[in-house]
Symmetry: C2
Amino acid sequence: MCTSTRARGASLSAEPLSGLRVFEVSTFVAAPLGGMTLAQMGADVIRVDPIGGAADRQRWPLAESGTSMYWAGLNKGKRSVTADFRSEQGRAIVRDLVAACETGTAVVLTNAVGRDWLSYEALSEVCPDLIHVQVQGRSDGAPAVDYTVNAEVGFPMVTGPAGHADPINHVLPAWDIACGLYAALGVVTADRRRVHTGEGERVTVALQDVALAMAGNLGFLAEAQVNQVDRTRIGNYLYGGFARDFSCSDGGRLMVVALTARHWDDLLEVTDMRAPVEALESSLVVSFRREDDRFEYREVLAGLFQRWFAGRTTAEATEALSPTSLVWSQYRTFGEAIHDLQDRPNPLMSVIDQPGVGRHLAPSSPLRLTSVEHDAVPAPRIGADTDSVLADVLGLDRATRTQLHDDRVVGH
Amino acid sequence: MCTSTRARGASLSAEPLSGLRVFEVSTFVAAPLGGMTLAQMGADVIRVDPIGGAADRQRWPLAESGTSMYWAGLNKGKRSVTADFRSEQGRAIVRDLVAACETGTAVVLTNAVGRDWLSYEALSEVCPDLIHVQVQGRSDGAPAVDYTVNAEVGFPMVTGPAGHADPINHVLPAWDIACGLYAALGVVTADRRRVHTGEGERVTVALQDVALAMAGNLGFLAEAQVNQVDRTRIGNYLYGGFARDFSCSDGGRLMVVALTARHWDDLLEVTDMRAPVEALESSLVVSFRREDDRFEYREVLAGLFQRWFAGRTTAEATEALSPTSLVWSQYRTFGEAIHDLQDRPNPLMSVIDQPGVGRHLAPSSPLRLTSVEHDAVPAPRIGADTDSVLADVLGLDRATRTQLHDDRVVGH
């Protein structure tokens, strides 16, 4: 059972999530991101993997040493324990770690499915106030991954240039990211209730539900159901407004967004297109101060503006845009983005020395609380904290720990 | 000052965020999604808009009545108050609402910038334990939107078919979504600290930081910095593994993901490609049981599998894939997705009757806590709750409320 040597919440130090102990049995993006996010706010996050690591340990990109920079990026600031999940003794280690948690502290965060020993039912027997967050593919427990739920929900069919025939997947695993942030939110939300009631809770979040919910929240599904309109591809235009990418004479490319009337005025001004645009408005009997008219005539308008961009280098165009209210950015590669961060430091990024990768710029949490330290910290070597966690959390003596290791019940 | 008529936390009923009162001064996606997410867990979220609504009130898609289904989707379950932000009297209403909150309950969530009267500094004067979450474009306060930070960070340059020259924007506002979920997490996280210490806090989250953090977390930036590799477009393949879309004889398209050795075995089995693939392995001296070798030879392997899909209808292919361990989905349009939800109910979706839109399927929160009711609820008509909030929260009598309305200090 959870030990109760300390009053609930009494352990809170400066960081808002200190006092929470999260056991994360996870792979890939969503659950690891959720755990890392909690670690970044002060939770003690212990990722528990099979000996040697889980299925994501060699996910690309890899450093020259073979170390996964993807794994490192998603597991910063955690402790790492490894145990043999196939043996009853190894599974008992996980159960004992959860059982050893003080009241009001225990969290299990996992995307493992079909493992009864990791379920809320099994673990709440040894820790009645456990918060257990299950990340899953579908809410019925069936598997799904970011790319498959994305295919189902509709976005690849509206991504890319008008007229393009084939689906275009996103490269950013956006559903994994949203799912991982929901998982972190689920932990802190359920903990709020636990602080007040003393009760733990089972929390679930499914990738498919996340994708469907966002397609619904943004009106994509309602539009299809209520208006019976299936949206088509519009390239880099903004639906219902005016925004597009423009190319400069040197090949540089700018994304320019005119959301408000003031943006629109500034765009007409800077490109010297007020007179021709007003002439068009009169003869077409429309008002481009209205977003919907701007959208309807987007190709015409973009064609006029494109002439201005084509006559300027990127430097000239950006110099002209800078004093305006317009929201714009230059398209960059990841390489250009990191070079810019090296030249112009951003407090989000700090240099860490990641084992197997070396010194590089890594992000801390973009969520900035005044009570939280914000320097990035490295990820652990897989298994690195096994011995210290068995000693400190379970109180096992050296002989017992050595035996567990020699018996390959745990790694190191 | 915050009134203290109730002990901190004493008001918690069944839902985990009950007792929190969130004043949301917001537009577009991130901050409204953050507020809605809090409402879905039991917080009392009052969106306060200028009279007539904010800049997002007519964002597409629109219903035939002109009502924005986008606005409705992102503001479900909130109350709506309108006031004249340009008048001192209107701004005083917002300040008074915050000041009227009981200790341990007040939250302000906003993406408005440059409004001193809405700042943490101004509002914490009337409510010392305020949690104030500022969503912004960049951490220095400069403006940015989803599409511009996406252009800067690198994803549009690696999205789409190999060889495609131009940037391809995402259609899903993924950074807005992540930013909104971070904002919700910031509220609940800071509230955990407030419950323990009695102190409020200033929280910020910037769209640009969210994008940079995720590009870093997933290894894109480290790869560019450490390996000095700028990734190129690989279409719908999965980087470093094996996944791709395949087209069937009837034009249906399936996304098929083989992450594990078991997936790979099943893919060889179902497509009857074991012999030719093994022959290739021998002669090329590679092992396609390894993810990296599968990725290196992805076009060759996909070419073999594509022949199997091309010889089958979508129904035949999905029937063959169903009993396997493979993770796969059929690409659908938004229309096909919503039709499927109408045919096969998902507990995430329920029918709501949204004013100006009508009855349609809308999502609740994909984050499912056992302590939370999960039916979707409609968004308010803009301004609908002004009078009741002035009466209930501020305790203003009918004559005063009528005067405020007649003076156009508040809407209705």
